[in-house]
Assembly symmetry: C2
Homo-oligomer: 410 residues x 2
């Protein structure tokens, strides 16, 4: 996966880097702060092949239920999303989701079933549907080729908007993929919801699009942990318009692999941005797990390390407390040779090995502290079980995480 | 299980409430602070039937490996434990564990295989075995019927020692069970290890003792979560001397049930003390899950709620943020009817229902805040899936948790 990072085609354009897509983001009155956009729309010039991956949480937001219904035919033309209210465990949630979709469908003169919908924010509170319906004309009127308003409108307590795009060649044609995402946090904190919306002009069947998205989510968003809480409203969705006129991807092969490769690249960058911007985070943590007996083992082990509150707090304190890393691996449920584990830390400042063959090395604590003082830290773990590797992405556990999530909602 | 709490026989005596047991605790020089005892010994007048339950972490401390070997015959006479160093992932760990056991066996003139041993503290650092061996004569000399020194010597960053005992009748004979425990935290923080050591004069076979201990651990210690990190050194062990001369318990039946009932009572109190004294905790959280389709479902759901960082942070902030509770249930992996969940909060101040049939109620936020401002909070969840209930025990997530675990080790 490392070579992805070196690929030079990555740009920050987001959805509108893709020809044939317009977006908008407005304030319609769900959020109290009038300067905060709270309603986003992504629209393709034509109906697209579409795919989505949803939260595994058994309690699912009403808009996810509606979107699953709409995507049964693998087609969609628009993505609609509000922030400030999750429309989950709220009275008449499904009916509210339908109303916001219908308002946009009427205004755009498209089928309601061609709209993917989601909501992010506080749960258990009725959606102010009148405000949304009243805001739809302005939302549609504001559609443009400027990516920013939509990227901002889906943000909750994110401290920066997250957009990436890339161009590549397929069968002599230029294909573009672009995406926006939001991470964890809310002004009225309730839960950390991860959303990402992607667009491409690639000609790819709904089936292969779904396959690519599912594969890509596995190595990117599913390897992110901010606090271990899986939201009721997590969703990744992608629209593929096909206007790039590349040879249609309708089966596995070289073109599919190339598409997946670039999709992974974008999703990994969005996923890392989500981790980096986790609630209260001061550091991005990357755990690289090498020498595992399978990808699944490597992925679970890396995720367990990145999810440990004790590891996260140690990283906040720049403490090379590697015992917690072995401990988190030990309770992951994964089999590994626990007598042959090497652990090191690296960052821009340098790298240091602190544990060899599962036994502590004496190391320069000051040097370790300097390495761990950086904003992006890699925890390097090597096993002796096989040739598989995986990465997971997280952030440190800080006073601000407690402050943000412990503060009273009102 | 509720009636256990009403039972009046509970006392704070600990191990030495049981006739025929002596304990001691000394400072031998593992900890830097000379006022902190760091070596504990529990000794029975005679060889006992013995049982233990160990951490499920695949990385296990060396003393646990040795204890498993020693307990193969279901017999033991003493429990030896140091704090300040976990003797895990450290050079020559098994040999160090053997050395400390042999030193005590020689001094007491008992078999090394009759000693249960454990260590708690920093991992990856060589055990200062010379200090321990040098301290053994004093440790043995200090054996007495005063429970306190041993209860204190196993503490790490615990803010109070944890001891409970109870007397009951079996076949006209008075039987006593007593125990001590330690929870989460260290002065040189490395990981939260849970230990509990129990003694009884009950006449019970090793097999039934193991069965009772395993059953009891399931509803008590296994339902505690401080930070979701399962230590490498967790252990519960029990010695049963048989000197109470009750009719031997060697099969299931009324006497076994009575023994288990009192054992549960003590383990539940120790478990709650561990949760209450979690690192940085200001509040004990109890989640009662009612109306589940099985005990296992109820237990997993309650544990998922109590383990959620977002729930824990909300409780710290006295925020009745019930959406996070449904969310944590949703990602627990347990099947339940997620449209029919009621959620309430209660404490000494009162009780309040905030969610009915999975939909938010409008409630008095000030009243809720008052209820959640207490030191012991119950999260009451009712399902409509069956008649099974379970409880789980945890604590809030506070600035102090981050401080304790983020501070540099030196």
């Amino acid at each position: 996966m490392d070579n992805l990072e070196c690929w030079s085609g990555l740009a920050s354009g987001g959805i509108t880097a893709v020809p044939g897509f317009k977006v908008s983001g407005v304030h319609c009155g769900i959020r109290k702060n009038r300067d905060k956009r709270d309603l986003a729309l992504i629209l393709a010039d034509k109906q697209c092949n579409a795919a989505a991956v949803y939260t595994t949480n058994k309690v699912k937001g009403a808009p996810l239920i509606l979107t699953m219904e709409h995507l049964k035919n693998g087609k969609a033309r628009a993505i609609l999303c509000n922030s400030g209210n999750a429309n989950t465990c709220a009275p008449n949630g499904l009916s509210a989701a339908e109303k916001m979709v219908n308002a946009v469908a009427n205004e755009l003169k498209i089928e309601p079933a061609d709209i993917i919908v989601n909501s992010t924010g506080v749960i258990g509170v009725q959606l102010p549907i009148e405000n949304i319906v009243a805001g739809v004309p302005e939302l549609v009127k504001a559609l443009s080729r400027d990516n920013t308003p939509a990227a901002e409108a889906i943000m909750t307590t994110d401290t920066f908007s997250k957009s990436w795009a890339a161009e590549f060649e397929l069968g002599g044609k230029t294909v573009t993929i672009g995406g926006i995402a939001k991470g964890s946090g809310m002004i009225n904190p309730n839960m950390a919801t991860m959303l990402s919306f992607l667009a491409t002009d690639c000609d790819i069947s709904s089936e292969m699009l779904q396959k690519a998205l599912s594969q890509s989510v596995k190595i990117s968003y599913n390897q992110v942990s901010v606090d271990g809480d899986t939201s009721t409203n997590d969703m990744t969705a992608i629209l593929a318009s096909g206007t790039a006129e590349n040879p249609t991807i309708d089966s596995a092969g070289e073109d599919y692999d190339k598409f997946l490769h670039v999709l992974n690249l974008i999703n990994l960058r969005l996923a890392k941005d989500i981790a980096r911007d986790g609630e209260g985070a001061t550091k991005l943590l990357i755990c690289k797990m090498n020498g595992a007996e399978s990808y699944e083992s490597a992925a679970l082990l890396a995720k367990s390390v990145i999810s440990s509150s004790l590891v996260k707090a140690a990283m906040f304190g720049s403490d090379a407390n590697w015992g917690r890393i072995l401990c988190a691996m030990g309770y992951s449920g994964v089999h590994f040779d626990n007598a042959r584990v090497d652990v090191g830390f690296s960052s821009n400042t340098g790298e240091i090995l602190v544990c060899k063959q599962s036994t502590g090395l004496s190391f320069d604590e000051e040097e370790a502290k300097k390495i761990l003082g950086e904003k992006e830290i890699t925890i390097d773990v090597s096993l002796c079980d096989g040739d598989f590797s995986a990465e997971a992405y997280g952030c440190d556990l800080t006073y601000d995480y407690v402050r943000i999530n412990g503060d009273y909602r009102t």
